[in-house]
């Protein structure tokens, strides 16, 4: 304890005897002022950056509710969420079975069908309708559209084909159709985003 006290006293003496002025006091004031300037200047930057974040009106449209009741079995509709097309497909029991029975080894981006839908609502497939290759909107939602060999979607741009769970099965696309964040509000209504 005594050594610490002496050492501290020595340091203090060394600092105060440097130069003719009271160095500790002046440097402390400059340090305090300097740090306050940095804090002030730094906090001036945040409003500029934050103004570039999505504004409140954009955020208000960041989630959308969809009514599923008019979509009959075998049919699909397209709605828009955050500027992107969303495919809502009401799958037939045959389509569900096909999706469940496909072995994982047959897929480029393997994933079980159960992970593509919500429990208790397996007949509803909700995917972002943007091909994971280069961004075209695949065909397959309208009754007249080609659906490809796997019954899902067919992308006309470079020939990617998706199955009834929206998984990539053939063609240049590297990944399955992306699932948006969504939840069932009741059996016939979902909220996306």
């Amino acid at each position: 304890m005594a050594e610490v006290a002496t050492a501290t006293a020595n340091v203090r003496e060394a600092i105060t005897t440097v130069g003719n002025q009271d160095v500790t006091k002046r440097d402390f004031l400059k340090l305090l002022t300097g740090s306050a300037v940095v804090i002030g200047a730094g906090s001036m930057v945040w409003p500029f950056i934050d103004s570039m974040n999505p504004a409140r009106d954009v955020l208000a449209l960041s989630s959308v509710e969809a009514d599923l009741s008019p979509v009959v079995e075998g049919q699909g509709i397209t709605i828009v969420w955050r500027g992107k097309p969303i495919f809502l497909r009401h799958r037939t029991p045959k389509e569900i079975k096909e999706a469940v029975d496909t072995p994982l080894s047959a897929m480029k981006d393997p994933i079980a069908d159960a992970a593509r839908v919500k429990a208790g609502h397996e007949q509803w497939l909700v995917v972002i309708g943007i091909c994971t290759h280069l961004g075209c909107v695949p065909l397959g939602n309208k009754p007249t559209d080609p659906r490809g060999e796997f019954g899902g979607w067919f992308c006309p741009c470079h020939g990617s084909q998706y199955d009834t769970a929206g998984r990539i099965r053939l063609g240049p696309a590297p990944a399955n159709l992306v699932l948006p964040p969504y939840a069932f509000m009741n059996d016939t209504k979902i909220k996306i985003g």
């Binding site: 002046r26 004031l29 305090l32 002022t33 306050a36 300037v37 002030g40 208000a60 449209l61």
Partner: protein, 250 residues
Amino acid sequence: MRKLLVTLLASAALAAPALAQEHPEVPSVKWSFNGPFGSYDYASAQRGFQVYKEVCSNCHGMKLLSYRDLTGIGLNAEQVKAIAADVTVPGGTNDAGEPVDRPGTAADRFKAPFPNDKAARAANGGALPPDQSLIIKARENGPNYVHALLNGYVDPPAGTVVPAGQYYNEYFPGHYLAMPQPLHDGQVDYVDGTKATVEQMSKDVVQFLTWASEPNMERRKQLGVKVVLFLALMTGLTYGVKRKVWKDLH
């Protein structure tokens, strides 16, 4: 230099005569939002919204506000959703290309009372009821003026002839305006039970309209207090550093 300042002050005093009286003197009310620490009275603003919804919105639009903004006067998301769902708004077109209506959502702008200005004029004897989104900021001494106007429907002085379709108001510039007295005692049944006199309703609606003109006022003043205090501190600190640095010179 001193003489210069004296001359300046003298000329300033001379150059400040009585204001030209085109706008009648408007009584001042002590509003909760006045002053550097002012804030909105949410209870009053909600009553004011009720007055707007039930009375004013029949003629006056508020197109710069969305239903979701109402959380700014203390309503919760559920209440806002219900208020929005109460109205039907244009909802694009159906597959045949015909325009359809749909119930409102929180993201929608306040429903316009008329589809366009011409329809508004036709329904109001040729006069266009101004949009209320910015009315408080668009008038000199806005809150006090609007409050005075709403209470200013008095009998015209003896002998004056009020033009047809116009009404006499003590505070409207020129005294004649096309809007008949909009508020009457007991006209609105306040949800919180407050007695709805013209004075009460006018105060509440001004509170609501002031918020509508400037929803970010509280945020602005709160940040302002912090910034001004910080800058006052900085002025002291920099002055201290300046004195220290310049000491060797003197």
